[in-house]
């Protein structure tokens, strides 16, 4: 089974993404701050990361940068309320696979995630 890591400090968002992604038949791992997210990234083999930009401890861009240095192959999707052009450019330059802005539609997220996880994602 494939694994997806959600890093977001808002429990409502984690809850929502958890339910949406479980429908894809994947294991969903959760982290509520940047440091915790990086730890999970170290310990586990992951297939997709959904990453918020504004995070306690270590902010999202910094998390992205660190993850990219360790393993450039895992798709990392920024999912954040920060929608300014400069933020989007910064995220993509640091190696984000995609940059999505909140608020988001659960159905849309599900469809997109299925695509990033490849055809084998759906159970």
């Amino acid at each position: 089974m494939k694994s997806v890591l959600v890093i977001d400090d808002d429990p409502d968002v984690r809850l929502l993404l958890g339910v949406v992604l479980e429908r894809l038949g994947v294991t969903v791992l959760m982290a509520s701050n940047g440091r915790e997210g990086l730890q999970v990234y170290e310990d586990r083999q992951l297939d997709l990361v959904l990453l918020d930009a504004v995070l306690p401890e270590v902010n999202g861009f910094r998390v992205l940068e660190t993850m990219r240095q360790r393993n450039p192959d895992v798709p990392i999707v920024m999912l954040t309320s920060r929608g300014e052009e400069s933020d989007i450019i910064r995220g993509l330059e640091l190696g984000a696979t995609e940059y999505l802005t909140k608020p988001f539609s659960p159905a849309e997220i599900r469809v997109r995630c299925a695509r990033w996880l490849g055809d084998g994602g759906s159970a």
Binding site: D9, D10, D12, V13, L15, L16, V19, V20, R23, D52, V54, T80, S81, K102, P103, F104, S105, P106, A107, I109, R110
Partner: protein, 877 residues
């Protein structure tokens, strides 16, 4: 004084000279003549010139010259003068009384003394033949002389006694004739009273005399009476007496120390206070009555004002709508007059209402974080038209160090300042009116200075009293009710501050309101305009006011030069130029120069210059300078000239006037607008078209089924018919304020609108509440999560409100940011949009109470929807 003078004085004090004969002395002289068997005896008194006979026997003369008298020698003798034969004595041989009648040969005299011991005369025995005087005879003479002297002493005592009788009589007359009761007591024992005392207490004298004063007073008064009995000075106190009928009689006593029959005593004048007390009670009752009447009047006024406000708001609204239609000049003049009059009336009404509220302690402060600068600016904007109309220069000068955010009641402060500035404009025929703001320790200090008619010293004390204008004729000349300043003082006092006035007749007035405040963000407000740092600017203007503008520009860290010389000035392209209209003719303008001219609205600026319309406010100044710097102005929200939304709304109001006004407003924004005039009509209409109605505007006060009842019926019908989502129902009320808002929500209303609703308010309301019911079907997979999500929003909403009240903008932003990210995902895109609006506004420090209400209302509405698990009815079909 020599002996003779003293002797003469004693003599006169006897008051015997030249008085008729008196038996007491005649008897003594007669006795002497008989005892010595002499033909002549007399009692003589010696004054400066003569000897005068008080009593005499055998003598025709009443007096003789002193120099001829024997007695003038006698009074010098200690014992007696005895001349046995005058013809043998050298002193008397040629004396006319010896030579002629009565032909004295023998003389014996003993000195006669006044009671003080002075020899004033002598008692004498005379014979026409020589003889001797035996020692027994001399003693007899001396005894008789002593008797005469005793008569003098007796007389003196008689005078004393008579004087005493007289004075007693006098006191008697005084005390008997007195309306007050008088008693004399010694050691607290009554020794005498006047008749009034008996009349007053109803006891006969016999029962009073010899009794203790304390016996006639209540036990509570005894101590005071006893203390007064032993005092040594004049003493005033109150005591309650008990009369013969056992009734308590309040009295005031004035007690004097006196001497009564040679012993210390006290005389007390007792004044009955019964009437005075009754009067006092009447007065107190009258005062209570007056207070109660005032309270009832205030209540009546409050109710009446509410009643008047509704139709007045309709008039104002209609005039506004009428003004928007195509009108001829005459009609427009009429409409403008109606608008002005209604605005004035509303202001007076509100003043009266607020004053009565404040005076009766029923006004609550609504403290919130706000900008003192923005408050001042809004007052200037408000008062600009009347100032312009009178041709007055309205100025605003704000100290650059005023903190950015403070906690104040903006509405009340604005009310005070608008009143003060409005007053200044009213009483200033020409010149300027200036509003200034600075910090004075922990208080915001606003001053309103004018160059008006001024107020004299006496009137300065009165102007803060309600219904008083400096002078009745002033009222006639300038209009107004005199409520404004009284209200200002009440409001400022309520805010813990102080309102003062300084003024000189003919020179103008200065009102200053200092209002203590909590500083939320201490950063100087002027520091926030960072886009001007280092920008060179030349200010061309003069006077205090322009100096304040100069210090503002300096606070913005602009590179400022000041020009106030009357010489033509050459422009340059490198700098910004800010020029006062008075100085425009001195500057050479032309294309390429960046010139901002500060001038009144009717001023036609020279070509190529930019017109900054007075009165200047920092916001307008910043905007104009920014434009002149050719940078885009940020933060202006697009003025929507949007076409009408297609959104059925239901308007319920029983009063035609206010309904037509609201209908007119609604109709310009949405269609269709359905109308109901009563609760019953509303229900019928809603049952028919309910599911498609986007918003119900429901008047709370209706005869019969009122707004609350109608609301309950609508909800009941929705539940029965499983109509979901429920329709948002907004309360239309005359009551403003946070408390009224909470009441409406507690009653189950979705929101709360205060009549009359302005066009802008209506637009904002429809923008948000109009979409409450548009509920897209949530993603099936998360349906189970929604109700928990909605539950959590309640607590979060309270946190948001608290953070706003505390001015914790970081927390507000964090909540808004988070909710923006999640709400749409759970099927509440409107909440995400609302959160975004809040987030943006809080960043601009521009969050309004209204928007916060929308949030609270929507969160409550989400709960009402039951988190999306209820049955669904699609909208629009």
């Amino acid at each position: 004084m020599d002996d003779e003078t003293r002797r003469l004085e004693s003599l006169r004090a006897l008051q015997l000279l030249d008085t008729p004969p008196e038996a007491a002395f005649d008897r003594i002289v007669r006795l002497l003549a008989m005892s010595l068997d002499v033909p002549i005896a007399f009692l003589s008194l010696i004054d400066e010139e003569r000897q005068w006979f008080k009593a005499r026997v055998g003598l025709e003369l009443e007096e003789t010259a002193r120099k001829d008298s024997f007695c003038r020698y006698t009074i010098q003798e200690p014992e007696a003068l005895i001349v046995e034969d005058a013809c043998a004595d050298a002193r008397f041989v040629d004396n006319p009384l010896v030579l002629g009648s009565p032909q004295i040969r023998f003389y014996a005299g003993v000195p006669f003394h006044a009671p003080d011991g002075a020899p004033v005369g002598s008692l004498c025995a005379v014979d026409v033949a020589p003889r001797r005087l035996s020692p027994d005879e001399l003693r007899l003479m001396q005894d008789l002389r002593d008797l005469a002297e005793m008569e003098l002493v007796r007389r003196q005592w008689r005078d004393v006694v008579d004087g005493f009788r007289e004075s007693e009589q006098r006191w008697r007359i005084l005390s008997d004739g007195n309306r007050d009761a008088v008693i004399i007591h010694q050691d607290g024992v009554i020794v005498d009273v006047n008749p009034q005392m008996a009349k007053w207490l109803g006891y006969p004298d016999a029962e009073v005399l010899g009794r203790l004063v304390a016996h006639f007073v209540t036990p509570a008064s005894r101590r005071a009476v006893e203390a007064a009995s032993h005092a040594h000075t004049r003493f005033q106190y109150e005591a309650t007496f008990v009369n013969a009928h056992g009734e308590a009689v309040p009295a005031e006593l004035l007690s004097y120390p006196i001497t009564w029959r040679n012993a210390p005593a006290r005389l007390a004048v007792i004044r009955d206070l019964t009437v005075q007390r009754q009067l006092q009670r009447h007065l107190e009752a009258a005062r209570d009555q007056a207070v109660e009447t005032a309270r009832i009047k205030a209540e009546l006024l409050a109710n009446l004002s509410h009643e008047i406000r509704t139709p007045l708001a309709a008039v104002a609204g209609m005039a506004e709508i009428l003004g928007e239609t195509l009108l001829g000049d005459t009609q427009r003049f009429y409409v403008d007059s109606i608008s002005r009059a209604t605005t004035q009336l509303l202001a007076i009404l509100n003043n009266a209402l607020d004053l009565s509220k404040a005076e009766h302690g029923r006004m609550e402060l609504d403290l919130a974080v706000d900008s003192a600068v923005a408050i001042s600016e809004s007052v200037i904007d408000l008062m600009a038209p009347p100032a312009l109309q009178k041709g007055l220069d309205l100025q605003l000068a704000i100290d650059p160090d005023v903190p950015r955010q403070v906690r104040v009641d903006a509405v009340r402060i604005r009310q005070v300042l608008a009143n003060l500035v409005g007053n200044a404009i009213k009483f200033t025929p020409s010149g300027h009116v200036r509003l200034t703001l600075r910090m004075a320790s922990d208080s915001l200090l606003w001053t309103v200075i004018d160059t008006g008619i001024g107020i004299d010293q006496i009137q300065q004390e009165r102007i803060f009293q309600p219904y008083v204008q400096a002078d009745a004729s002033t009222g006639r000349h300038y209009g107004g009710t005199g409520l404004g300043l009284a209200l200002c003082r009440e409001l400022v006092t309520l805010m813990g501050g102080e309102l003062r006035v300084e003024s000189a007749v003919g020179q103008g007035s200065c009102f200053s309101a200092s209002i203590p405040t909590e500083i939320v963000d201490p950063v100087a407000w002027a520091a926030s305009e960072s886009q001007f740092v280092g920008v060179p600017i030349v200010v061309v203007g003069a006077g205090d006011y322009w100096r304040s503008i100069l210090s503002l520009l300096q606070a913005w860290r602009m590179e400022v030069s000041w020009w106030d010389e009357v010489t033509p000035i050459g422009m340059d392209e490198d700098r910004l130029w800010l020029v006062d209209e008075e100085w425009v003719r001195h500057v050479v303008t032309g294309a390429g120069f960046r010139v901002v001219v500060a001038a009144g609205p009717t001023f036609v600026p020279p070509a190529g210059t930019s017109h900054l319309i007075k009165p200047l406010t920092p916001a307008k100044l910043a905007e104009r300078l920014q434009q002149a710097m050719q940078r885009p102005v940020v933060g202006t929200s697009g003025d929507a000239t949007a076409s009408r939304w297609s959104m059925p709304v239901l308007l319920v109001d029983d009063s035609d006037d206010t309904r037509i006004l609201a209908e007119r407003r609604l109709a310009s924004l949405v269609e269709p607008v359905w109308i109901a005039r009563s609760g019953a009509e509303t229900l019928a209409l809603y049952r028919e078209r309910g599911p498609s109605v986007a918003v119900v505007f429901l008047d709370v006060q209706m005869p019969g089924m009122d707004g609350f009842a109608t609301l309950r019926e609508i909800r009941r019908w929705e539940r029965e018919r499983q109509v979901w989502p429920p329709v948002p129902i907004l309360a239309l009320t005359a009551h403003a304020g946070e408390e009224a808002y909470r009441r409406s929500r507690a009653a189950g209303f979705t929101g709360h609108l205060v009549k009359p609703v302005s066009q802008l308010e209506m637009r904002v309301t429809l923008h948000w509440y109009g979409r409450f019911r548009q509920r897209p079907v949530p993603d099936d997979s998360i349906r189970d999560l929604v109700s928990d999500y909605v539950d959590r929003r309640g607590a979060e909403c309270r946190m948001l409100v608290n953070a706003c009240q505390a001015g914790d903008w970081d927390a507000v932003e964090a909540i808004a940011h988070r909710v923006r990210g999640s709400a749409a995902g759970y099927g509440f895109p409107l909440l995400s949009e609302l959160a975004e609006e809040v987030e943006t506004r809080v960043q601009r420090r521009d969050l309004t109470e209204g928007l916060l209400h929308v949030w609270q209302d929507y969160v409550q509405y989400m709960a009402l929807m039951g988190g999306g698990t209820a049955h669904e009815v699609r909208l629009g079909d």
